[in-house]
Amino acid sequence: MSEPDSVCRPQGAFSFRRVLAVMLRHLYVLRRSWPRLLELAYWPLIQMVLWGFVTKFFLGHSSWVAEAAGVLISAVLLWDVLFRANLGVSLPFIEEMWSRNLAQMFVSPLRDAELITALISMSLIRTLISVTPAAFLALPFFDVWVFELGVPLVAFFTNLLVFGAVIGITVAALILRFGLGAESLCWLGIFLLAPVSAIYYPVDALPEWLQMIALSLPGAHVFEGMRGVLFDGVFSWNHFFWAAGLNVALLSLATLFFLHMMKMARIKGLLMQQGE
């Protein structure tokens, strides 16, 4: 067998081959990571759908916002509660994987249920830190006092916090199963729900088939409830009970899913294998 030519020769100042080598490093990751591939097409699609529905609704209801000052800002702030509550659960979990600390935690006496409780509690703290300054600053900037929603705001906040945690727990379970290649699910999951959460428009602005989906999720009930308070000054107990009931059911399912994924991780040996 002859030896290959030596590569010990002067190298060019700029090499497309080396450029390709670096590209290859990322392409190798990309081609075997379906969440990363999905993410590329995902954001433009979600933005298009969300703002398409917003545009369609406002074309027929141009005076809608004027009827209740602050409806859009309140919606944005409450949406951020849901978004932050989700990240508040999923990001700390990913941080444990990034720091290769998960196995250490699971060989301590820590129980799965304790981990979930800690993550949800952290989510509450992170969410409060995130949205409180914006809620106060809405007054000097836009003359909108979101606390005008009164006691119902507590109900909306709590329901969105729990729903965000449901999404976060589900995402954490998926990341445990599929590894850090799936970490973008933290953002993908929550934004998938944005168009059907009826944040900026009522549920009936959606096509009929999507209305069914929207009303099967707690988020849409919260935002419908918010509009009820802002437009009519009425707190809808119906939407509240739907949101709370759905949250209880979904939180139970998400917890069971997480526990199942933990069991799978113990069978497949995923708790020791962390990293990219």
Binding site: R100, A103, Q104, V107, G269, M272
Partner: protein, 248 residues
Amino acid sequence: MNLPMSEPVIEVTDLYKSFDGVHAVNGVSFRVDAGQTVALLGGNGAGKTTTISMLLGLLSPSAGEVRVLGARMPAERHKVLGCMNFSSPYVDLPKRLKVWENLTVYAHLYGVRDVKGRINELSDDLELADFIKRPFGDLSAGQKTRVALAKSLLNAPKLMLMDEPTASLDPDTGDWVRGYLERYRARTGASILLASHNMGEVERLADHVLMMRGGKIVDQGAPRDLITRHGRETLEQVFLDIARAGDT
């Protein structure tokens, strides 16, 4: 958890673990008694880490039984996880947390009563004072190993599982760690299960060696007995005999 004197600290019976049809651990049985240091010795892929993972309850066996301090693993792990601890270069601690913060978190996870007192005690014992206020990620490999050791001693464990505790350490630090483990065992009577491919370490620390290859225990005994039985002068030569027998 107190075991009767005759009860083994670890009892592994006919243990199997396979991944996609490949046997990582293939019918392993052994026991570790109170106060004993047992070493799992074998090359890469011999099944040492997989065995330790099952002892820790991180991995479910495909077949067979693992009992640690009398509890079946992983089903009854919560009965005993507070009495054991673990150290490995393949896991880490949060890098942005300072050393004392990391130790505080784990002291609470293990239910240590006097958190501050215990950390101070370990800091003195393991000479952490110079860097205890620095982020874990800023430490050298030797310093990180000492912190990992401190973490694994927080609950004064009856059983320590150590996966290559001196891998990637310079000889001086490696020697220091081995010396510390010897003193700790002599002082507390704890049992240690050590996975290593460092022959000097195994010869120095272990009362009993389990030689692993291809997921099986192919030989076992006291280091000196193994050397005599194989007609060799060092454990490394025994290891090479066994490893190369698998290649032919």
